[in-house]
């Protein structure tokens, strides 16, 4: 594998974040750039994506995992910095929203986005799941996890850990 340029790695990561607005959407751009440079393999990308689903923080932190795989601790740090910059554009957007949010048009616009996200986001996740094999047990585990969350008695971390235990018992 060819030697990694930290500056270029940072710029690739920054570009991928700037042109995407969720964790997985940054995949195609980074995949093209890093494979093009010969810095990463498909299986390394797959591993990083799995880590992103487990770890605390946004799923998009899979790029921190990838940064570490490709270029060690500094690569992970650069990925984290690249991930932090583009979302800051939300601050001026929110300032506008707070100023004009009481206008029916602006309020409706933001709520319309919220409604669309509700319709689409479970499907996006189901699509990711399809890659890892969706079966009846997947639905059962998801349903039990959902009930635990709604009960408000079980912390997330326990729900996720029980998911892992169930996975071992069911799929081994």
């Amino acid at each position: 594998m060819s030697r990694v340029s930290y500056v270029l790695l940072f710029l690739f990561m920054l570009k991928a974040q700037a042109i995407s607005n969720n964790g997985i959407a940054s995949l195609p751009s980074l995949h093209a750039d890093l494979l093009g440079q010969g810095w990463a393999t498909d299986s390394q990308f797959a591993g990083a994506l799995v880590v992103g689903q487990l770890t605390p923080g946004p799923n998009g932190l899979w790029i921190v995992s990838l940064g570490y795989i490709v270029a060690g601790p500094l690569g992970a740090f650069l990925a984290l910095c690249a991930a932090t910059i583009p979302p800051m554009l939300v601050l001026p957007i929110d300032a506008l929203y707070r100023r004009f949010g009481s206008l029916p048009g602006v309020e409706g616009f933001v709520r319309g986005i919220g409604l669309a996200v509700i319709g689409v986001s479970p499907l996006v996740l189901a699509q990711v799941l399809q890659g890892s094999g969706f079966d009846d047990w997947t639905a059962v585990i998801a349903a039990v996890a959902f009930v635990m969350v709604l009960s408000r008695r079980v912390p997330n971390i326990v729900v996720v850990a029980l998911g892992a235990v169930a996975g071992v018992l069911i799929y081994r």
Partner: protein
């Protein structure tokens, strides 16, 4: 944006919430979220909602759902945008810095730690089975997140009349169906529903 109230802040929709806690408390809250929210973005968003809306009472559930919608407009990861937005609303730059550092430093370090472990274990079948179970549980968390955001948005629509509630429900299902059938980029779905809902809101306000 908000009037002050004897017991706290009144949101634009009229809910009374508590004034934000000191920045130091905010930092500790975000550090806890960044450390304990296993299950990726879904687990993290759920913990943010729990900590700030349900336990803290510093935001209403409608404010949270609308903040999440605002975060879809800009580039980059929505959760990072959400933490900056909430921190900034609470305590300006200091609050935003506390939110970003608290969320990202621990979760970034844990990501690296899990990467190191995963690189050694990924060839074992047991790891694959455990991961399959985790991803299924995360789907459960995702559905909870959707419901926590849908409730206040639908309630707010209903306050504007039955017609707006019906429109909201129709939009949710139309977007879901279009997504399954056409598979457009998510942004291409968000924009049309935003415009439709905005136009109908303006029309309704004119008629009322």
């Amino acid at each position: 944006m908000s009037r002050t109230h004897a017991t706290g802040r009144v949101t634009p929709a009229g809910d009374v919430v508590k004034p934000p806690p000191p920045v130091r408390t905010q930092l500790l809250l975000w550090l806890r979220i960044g450390t304990a929210s296993f299950g990726g973005g879904q687990g993290t968003r759920l913990n943010v909602y729990r900590a700030l809306v349900e336990r803290g009472g510093w935001m209403s559930s409608l404010e949270f759902a609308e903040a999440w919608a605002v975060c879809q407009i800009g580039p980059g990861m929505s959760l990072i945008a959400l933490s900056a937005l909430i921190g900034y609303r609470f305590s300006r730059a200091a609050g935003a810095a506390a939110a970003l550092l608290g969320l990202l430093i621990p979760s970034g370090m844990i990501t690296v730690a899990i990467t190191i472990v995963y690189l050694r274990l990924d060839e074992y079948p047991l790891t694959k089975s455990a991961l399959h179970g985790v991803v299924a549980a995360v789907l459960g968390l995702a559905i909870a997140n959707v419901i926590f955001n849908a409730r206040p948005l639908l309630a707010a629509s209903f306050e504007k009349g039955l017609g707006m509630l019906v429109l909201a429900i129709v939009l949710i299902f139309t977007d879901a169906i279009v997504y399954v059938v056409v598979r457009p980029p998510v942004l291409a779905l968000l924009l049309p529903s935003a415009v439709v809902f905005a136009l109908c809101s303006v029309l309704r306000a004119r008629l009322a």
